[in-house]
């Protein structure tokens, strides 16, 4: 248990490559995004494949939000107010986000929140 206490550090690892063993989970799949395709459609294939995973992450984030604000008002705010921001986003991002929301079935406000997570969490 003491190893959880900072500044725990192990000896420098060697011969970890090629990746294998308990610190390696899997390789990463490749997808092509064709920039000649209209922005609304260019993420279709990827999101068709990953919509279940995106929906699960989204549900986890909603559960966290509801844990902080049990009335559900925070999620309501994201679902009802955030989509109005979409048109202020530069091209091609607003069309891409709309396409992702439609293909994945995740509400637009929640797709948008996922995409601005960095700005939300830099405090």
């Amino acid at each position: 248990f003491a190893q959880y206490v900072p500044p725990y550090t192990e000896e420098c690892r060697t011969n970890m490559y090629p990746p294998a063993g308990p610190t390696y989970k899997s390789t990463v799949a490749w997808y092509t995004i064709d920039l000649d395709t209209p922005p609304y459609k260019r993420w279709n294939q990827l999101l068709s494949d990953k919509k279940a995973e995106l929906a699960m992450l989204n549900q986890v984030i909603k559960d966290l939000a509801n844990a902080f604000v049990p009335s559900g008002k925070l999620v309501d705010l994201v679902d009802k107010k955030l989509p109005s921001l979409i048109e202020t986003f530069p091209s091609p991002f607003h069309d891409e986000l709309k396409g992702i929301a439609d293909v994945s079935g995740v509400p637009l406000g929640e797709v948008l929140l996922f995409n601005i997570f960095y700005e939300v969490f830099t405090v």
Binding site: P7, T23, W30, E53, V111, F114, T122
Partner: protein
């Protein structure tokens, strides 16, 4: 996050990163994991952005996320971004955006725009250093020839520091975690010291992407927040990524 750009003795540049995300976003007490981090891992994808059936840039990203955090423009440059925490943070940028002040750019959108449009290492550096942002950030940039590696420390409005590789002065790598280089890291979150120790132990003569993977696999550089590791080499347009895990004993961040 931890990002490294290193130059070997022949002047070849290597760029790699650990993407750490999900701090304080739900701790699973049973499995000793961060909840959001676990759910992000299945969303990691490598993307090949093409125009006219030719690669414009490659990136490691998350399905559903249209901005970029990690990428390489083959033959030109590679870039990663690390989170920079500040009281003058992104939430102020968001409020400004909502009330109509929209002269700043969303960080990940800027990264994508740079990967798509920048024509050289210097062009990318200039855009990342000067474009007004909604949130502070660290941009870590690698090029395709000797000396082309830097960390740009950004506030929302300006570049605070550009720290460059200078192999002639024994500065053969630049390493960024989530703290300004002129300050000590938070004592409970010092990934900088162990990463530097391992890089110094490796030496410039023996550095390679494989050796950097070793560094990024050493705890606490690898920790419970680490979603993926990406290895890049701009000159060859190489990008490879691996989903990571950090079995116990492992630091939560």
């Amino acid at each position: 996050c931890t990002s490294v750009v290193a130059e070997d003795s022949a002047g070849k540049l290597f760029h790699a990163r650990n993407m750490d995300f999900g701090l304080f976003l739900g701790w699973d007490v049973k499995n000793h994991t961060w909840v959001v981090t676990e759910y992000l891992r299945p969303l990691v994808v490598n993307l090949d952005f093409q125009k006219g059936n030719k690669t414009v840039f490659k990136s490691t990203s998350f399905a559903g996320y249209v901005g970029m955090l990690t990428g390489v423009k083959p033959g030109v440059f590679s870039v990663t971004m690390n989170e920079r925490f500040s009281l003058d943070g992104g939430y102020i940028g968001i409020i400004e955006w909502i009330i109509g002040r929209r002269d700043g750019m969303w960080m990940s959108f800027l990264m994508r725009s740079v990967l798509e449009n920048a024509t050289s290492y210097d062009d990318a550096k200039n855009q990342l250093a000067t474009t007004k942002l909604l949130a502070p950030a660290y941009f870590i940039l690698g090029g395709n020839k000797s000396g082309q590696g830097c960390v740009i420390t950004r506030s929302r409005t300006t570049s605070l520091d550009i720290w460059e590789i200078d192999a002639k002065q024994s500065q053969w790598y630049v390493l960024e975690t989530n703290y300004d280089r002129w300050k000590d890291p938070f004592f409970l979150d010092d990934r900088r010291t162990p990463a530097m120790k391992c890089l110094n132990q490796t030496t410039q003569a023996k550095i390679s992407l494989e050796k950097i993977y070793d560094v990024l696999s050493t705890k606490p550089v690898l920790n419970k927040l680490t979603v993926y590791t990406t290895l890049m080499e701009a000159s060859e347009g190489k990008l490879e990524s691996y989903i990571r895990d950090c079995p116990n004993p492992c630091m939560p961040w």
